[in-house]
Symmetry: C2
Subunit: 212 residues, 2 copies
């Protein structure tokens, strides 16, 4: 089984969503004093490559620990929008993928924006789905959708309309993916298992593609 890592590295200088903090690592136990090395980690629930539960934006939405683990693994397809000449991914751009979408449980949206990780531009005018494209995708029987940008919604829209369209349908969202271009054009299984945290609104994940 070939494994392709789709996860950004978590480290103290990594980019994080505005109004949240970068992760902190404090050495808590040492070889000399305790016989083992251990760190105290402080990080926000949506650090790095992470998953959003419906509860992230819906007061009556499910938390991650209320969703069975099967939900976080499934056949997937990469939708490549790296060559479209618009920053908005419109319905007309995605309709061509209908056959692959029907046979998938996860969609991974490759915009190529991960190339700006660690640069100010990463937070800028990144690609996004249009409302009509999102509504059309939300009509499929999907477990989740991932993207290689910091958010499914424009930074200037405090209402998060694209998040709401998907989370209302129980479709989980994975943000800050990377390396999507490395997935070969053949069937694969996507895994984004979250930590098993009580009442989790979100969790950093180790996202991978498994080529069977």
């Amino acid at each position: 089984m070939q494994i392709i890592d789709l996860t950004q590295l978590i480290h103290p200088q990594m980019p994080v969503f505005p109004a949240t903090d970068q992760p902190k690592f404090e050495l808590a136990n040492t070889l000399e004093e305790n016989g083992f090395v251990e760190q105290k980690i402080t990080m926000f629930s949506h650090t790095g490559t992470h998953i959003d539960a419906p509860y992230h934006m819906l007061s009556a939405g499910l938390t991650l620990d209320q969703i069975p683990p099967q939900h976080f693994i499934g056949p997937a397809v990469v939708l490549d929008f790296t060559t479209i000449d618009s920053r908005t991914i419109e319905l007309e751009h995605i309709k061509q993928f209908q056959d692959q979408i029907v046979s998938s449980e996860y969609l991974l949206i490759n915009t190529g924006w991960n190339q700006y990780w660690q640069k100010p531009k990463y937070f800028g005018d990144f690609p996004e789905l249009s409302v009509s494209a999102a509504n059309w995708l939300a009509g499929f029987n999907l477990k989740g959708i991932g993207i290689d940008t910091i958010s499914f919604d424009n930074m200037n829209d405090p209402k998060f309309p694209i998040h709401h369209i998907f989370l209302n349908k129980g479709i989980v969202l994975i943000e800050n993916l990377t390396n999507l271009a490395s997935i070969p054009n053949q069937p694969f299984i996507f895994s984004c298992l979250p930590l098993k945290i009580s009442n989790a609104d979100g969790s950093p994940v180790r996202a991978i593609a498994m080529i069977l």
Copy 2:
């Protein structure tokens, strides 16, 4: 694909290793103020069901982010020691499993001790491998070994001899597993992918069995 969850729930009142702290969760963003719910999590790197990197106890050992993700997934077997009449798992107890061990990359040691999770007894006189049993197992071509107790070593031995035997061979260790008795007696794949944290001595994981 059937998924069996082998992970203990992470929550503020969970048991943790002596001299480390329970995890803390602080509400950092709210629907009312920010339009989304997010928490600030503080937890030690070996909280709950977790993985130990060689670096946890060896100053020259690999950290988790230096190990390729393929290492954390592989064919596995459960070794059932729930009915032996000794708290030490001796070489004679494990030799009967030689054929299954040869064809596995992960061994999951079922002692039944997970029944004491959240009870003082969980930290008590839990089952452990003998040094000769551990040395024999370390001679196989294994990626990792998991167990349903808080540690591979007795709480009264500050030298952690069993940890050292395995970590010296690059065999990663998974502790605080649960639910091992639910895995059916048929081939399965074990997954214990860690978070992708820079210089990680360990990481909480979502451990699962995938029945193909």
